[in-house]
Amino acid sequence: MRYAETGFNLEIDLSRGSIERVETDPRLMELYFGGLGTNAKILWDRVPPEVEPFSPDNLLIFSTGLLCGTPAIGANRTIVSTLSPQTLLMAYSMMGGFFAPELKYAGYDKVIIRGKSPNLVYLWINNDKVEIRDASHLQGKGASETAELILQELKEPKAQVAAIGLAGENRVYMASIEHGRSSASRLGIGAVMGDKGIKAIAVRGTKDIDIARPDEFIELCNEVLEYIKARDDNPIPGVMPILAGLGSPQEMKIHDEKWHTTSFMWGNARTRRRDFWTEEIEEKWREIQESVRTRLISCYNCPMKCGAIISIPGISTYMMKCYSKLTYTMAAYSDLDFGFKIAQRATEYGVDGFSTPQAMAFALELYEAGILTDQDMPGMPSDTEGRFYWLLDRIVRREGIGDMLANGTYWAAQKIGKGAEEYAHNNIKKHEQLPLKLGMLNPVYFLMYCTGEKINITQIEGQFPQEPFPTREEREAFVKDWIQVPDEKFKQYFLDWEPRGEHSNPYYPTVQMSCEIVDWMEMMHYIDDALGMCAGLSSFPLKPPYHIHNYPAFISSATGIDIDEAGLSQVAKRNRTLVRAVNIRRGMRREDEKPPEDHWKKRFPELEEKLLDEYYKFKGWNTEGIPTKESLHELALDYVSEDFIKRGILRDTETIPTKATSKEKEKKEGGGSGP
């Protein structure tokens, strides 16, 4: 009997049109839990580093997390893993919603897709009955349009659908996979789905998910519900409203966007508008938001309302979440009204709301600088909003200049040349980042930006406040009920952290403290991503209901395996190391681990070197960021070190830093052409 998980994966080979239901090894759950952990294991085992993202041998894995489909509140994430066409490294984007639980109820932990279909198809998973169906009639359709059509066609309104839009079909590097109010957007996984010729996956399940020790488990769930209620009544004082509560930042509920609009950059991550937020704007934006927002909505089994139904007269109703209402608005120096409108089209096309507006703002900067000319932009309207629509339409169709922009700012700049590289200034590992430019280096954030395998800050940060609180009294009040800390020392680190003076950035938190803080935050994200738990109830917000002290009981009572805090942290470390190993084998090295040059105005090269050195050491990696043989052995990842040694990435007897081989380098620089 398998508990919490189903014990079965669905293996689909699109080239051969074959479908298999494969039982999994129960030992894998003990070692990696599930979700991102087992995805990384599959990618390591089955996708050698020679494989290109758009190869039939690349896998596209839709995975549930270990706790998805159990009563654990908020465990509803689908973890999609593949190789990214943009970074050429591993991509693991995730989405909330209803897909993962439905897949569990249908009897599967994962859908693993390999090969390529000659024609556009969609998958229909109805419990034991699985079909590959023709999708030629869905070609060119929007993502949510596709979902609607499939539900009608199947006469199954209770099925859940994940679909790509035009962007995915055209292998746009910023193509997302859309599912209701949720999407797996980052790193171009929608492009891989389109490359495989798969328009959508529909799933319906009506089977049981079993729990090993039900009474204990449900008690823990009830405690979480109680905590959420209490936390809702007691927002954290002193932090901006969108971060005071639980959930992902409450952008649909709250209209106060002073923090984002005055701290984040507008345009191509360029201009800070400190005076933007006025009473007049606040009133106008409140009105706009309330007039288009029909209802606040949730993901499966979660009381938080991080999403919303958006209905604008004359435009199809769509669903939105989090920060995307501002990404287009701010990239275009426009208004919230514009942001809500263009996001509808972008959602149907299925594009990442972070990278896409940046690629468009980048193009307009190049145009203003004369690097792109009227010849490159024939017929482009004269107003910025009109230009954004014009560019969006061309990117998702890969038409004209859109073909280059569709590969993201890094690859587009390489191709455009003429100094365009200078304008692709906000990338890490070739991937667009939050439009944030700050003054003083923050050592904790430096490490997270450099070394995060997700290449996206919001998937690493969380538990430790982003900045020091102004007064000691406020800090003392904060640590009073800070039960989530893995160790009391973190309270002291926070108490002593001052906005100015000796105990402030960049030398405080110290290098050692910074390593420990990052390690804790990262650990929580890796646990969540293996369990399918939403970061919004766990690793992302301050003082969340799930933490290192109650997770062991959750996992033990759900699965029947007995795990304590040390065991849990070991699994998180194993998963984190394995994802890194996949990337190391694909050529990632220390030189790739750097924030955008202009992220902080005040940089400290010596300190930064030391931070990386110590962090690598802390993690058991050598000075190139490669996990050592000894540390891999401790994590029962000897198969990784054997492979590293065979490939010359590690040497057998020592752990001397090894540079990426010239072949790996070539591959890193060479890829990235459109279809």
Partner: protein, 183 residues
């Protein structure tokens, strides 16, 4: 026959569809509560509450399973409220042959909400406890009813059965049922 006044507890779940966030926690916890042993599994397919969801049309309606009926209605109802169209039979609680809701997915046996009857009794049904957005709230009130009314109902019911099966068969069955209860 004059009935006496008796007190009866009326249990009501108030459903505020405007507050529903569509998370379906009610479906999940309902099926977990009714699992054997309790909470040992869950499966919204077995739930006695169902959220009719159509996000793009802003339709969110929690509906509870009511009586089983062996016959289909002759007509189907379709509601339009505030310009929103609801699916056929959307508000009906019956487990009936015309649709697959409120039936065990494997056996097809009908499901019915029992307000989480248990010993000791719960303060509130589990769906209400797990709905933090207060789309579902619970209240009990006492009402005085005349027993006679129930007596009348019983007679109407028995008459219908007698028409169908004959009075003798009904009597035989009642005798057999009461004997097997004693044993």
């Amino acid at each position: 026959m004059k009935g006496e006044k008796v007190k009866k507890i009326i249990k009501t779940i108030n459903i505020d569809v405007d507050k529903c966030n569509g998370c379906r926690a009610c479906e999940l916890i309902c099926s977990a509560f009714h699992a054997q042993p309790k909470y040992s599994s869950n499966n919204p397919g077995r739930s006695r509450i169902r959220v009719i969801r159509d996000p793009l049309r802003d339709v969110y309606v929690p509906v509870y399973a009511g009586e089983y009926t062996p016959a289909e209605c002759t007509g189907r109802d379709k509601y339009t409220i505030d310009g929103k169209e609801y699916e056929e039979c959307a508000f009906c609680r019956a487990s009936c042959p015309s649709r697959d809701v409120f039936k065990e997915p494997d056996s097809g046996l009908p499901l019915k909400c029992d307000m989480c009857e248990s010993d000791p009794p719960l303060e509130e049904p589990m769906c209400v406890q797990w709905c933090l957005n207060d789309a579902l709230t619970y209240e009990e009130r006492e009402e005085e009813v005349e027993e006679e009314v129930e007596q009348e109902e019983l007679e109407i019911g028995l008459e219908a059965l007698a028409d169908k099966f004959g009075l003798d068969k009904i009597v035989d069955t009642i005798v057999r049922m009461s004997e097997s209860k004693k044993a």
